[in-house]
Amino acid sequence: MKNKGIIIFLIVLAVVIIAVIAGDYLSGRPDKSAPNPFAYDVNDFKNVPEELIHFTESKNFKLGFEQATSITIDSDKLYVTGDKKLQVIDLSGKLLSEINLPDEPKTVEVYNDKIYVSVNNQILVYDPNGSLLNEWRNSDENSMITAISALENNVFVADAGRRKVIRYSLQGEKLTEFDGKADEGVVHGFIIPSPYFDLDINADGDLWVVNPGLHALENYTEDGNLREHWNNTTMQTEGFSGCCNPAHFTFLPDGRFVTSEKGLVRIKTYKPSGEFEGVVAAPSKFKDEGEAPDIATDSQGNIYALDFDKKMIRVFEPK
């Protein structure tokens, strides 16, 4: 037959054309539709390349709390709150002392041998022996105190309920408060969709506040003037996602940020400039959709994560 090869080729092409058209026609029906391409699926983001993980979990301590609430470190001692207690633990996990509290605490800060604990949105000040030194009354029923940090003559309190940072004197006198809005509208103000609103002071004495709705960390003067900020919104490992992240943060001794996120639970480090550095603990380390661990760091650069779901303190050392 003349042109036999061409004819066979043409028949094959005709079959391909019919198959493609028929296949396309029959696919995409509601009973054969592909999985929802817009489905909220974060599974892919749970996988973190090994080379990005710069810390390793070295040990962990079981807690004596039914419901732990916060952690901080001062002079290489862990201060952990939960139930109606505050426990002081050394870095090996040995319980040093315990202070009973009148109700369930929310957050703790230790500065210059004074322990500041938020209980029922009041701030209680204790000495290291557990003696109550002062009680700062707060009558605003909308308040929800989520973080405390002190420096020199100031105690800064993050109030998620009122979306403000309040500056107190060491004696408990309210000095000023600010909401993160700049005059020129450059900064939106604190966007806090859920009660996660953290602040901390680094080794240089700079006050940093999370603006969780903007996935931002913002540096303010003590009077509430914005000095600088950085943010990183992305589903990828190097940034933050969801309604309100990072949920918690703290500083390493050299000024690097350590952040803890909810939703896609993970702990990461950022350079002082805000540039992503690496991962401390990947999502696989935590319970799916668990709570964001509260975090603290010691003088050696180890990171202590208060895992609310596993009810333990988990220690991560640099690799």
């Binding site: 043409l10 493609v20 058209i21 396309d24 029906r29 489905a39």
Partner: protein
Amino acid sequence: MALEYFDVAVLLVVLSLASWLVVKKRSRQSILWLSVFTLIYFGFYRNGCICSIGAIQNVTLSFASPAYTISLTALLFFVLPLGFTLFFGRTFCAAACPLGAIQDVVIIKPISLPKWLNKTLGLIPYLYLSLAVLFAATGTDFIICRYDPFVGIFRMDAKFHMVVLGVSFLLMGMFVARPYCRFLCPYGVLLSWMSRFSKWHMTITPSKCIQCKLCANSCPFDAIDYPTNEKEVLKSGLGPKKFLTYALVIPLWIAAGVFVGNRSHTFLSKANPDVFLAELLISKPEIKNDKDNIDVQTFLSSGKTLETLVSEAEIIRHKFYYGSMMAGGFMGLVIGLTLLNTVVFRKRQDYEPNRSNCLSCTRCMDFCPVEK
């Protein structure tokens, strides 16, 4: 919007130029370059949209749905080539259609198809036109656009299977010249009707044919009619008796087509998403719990009740009932007339382009030794 009117202006210029180049200038070279321009402008630059072929559906929907208003540009894209064809033959196919142009540049070794195969495959565009009109009129789908094999190549964003489709057509086009134009294009059906009556259709020879036969095999589209051999015609038994038989059978073909359309309307109506979804929700109510099924979840979140969906689906199916029978009847008529055409004897003394199938590419002119 301004660019769309500019497109219409470009189409008008290209059609005018193509008609002049085909009918007056008789220049294959110029037609080739003009079609390359069309390929670049209407194809790759304007992404193959809007095109006259797809405009069939816009025109249909504008008649079928009072809620749809066709744009003036779409209407002009539909009407202008038909108007030019009525006067100058299918000069639109020659140089103003990007789908034709992309196929024309890949013709390498065209083979001649047997007449029976040409005739049989030539029915497909009528079927495609019927379905395209039916689906557009019922608001089901714009299948001409959906299965345009080249638009994804123009836009360079085609899904893999559409790339396969486009490449398959181009590979096929290396040996079967312009397969989409000849055996699929629904607009080609309308153009062929217009072209039959074209006033100044191109001719192979500029003056008197000298019967040199040099052009006989020059057409890659098998669109040259040879001079009739009366002895062979007599031997084949063609005559009034056969003509009458074939003519009388046409109503039967139409009736058969209507019957097939009637029987197939349920199947065809399932192409409509609302009809399919209504049937699916009735036959598989558990699919409501499938959170990954975006179509079902979209319907459930719309707040529409199943009863409303079913009543809408019934209206659409009713349209398919009549539409399918009309489409079937049309196909029956086409088959009947095609068969009748095979027993019609037309006396022809010269080699002539078949007005219906000739794409006015002017290749044959280069083979004609006759000077003006």
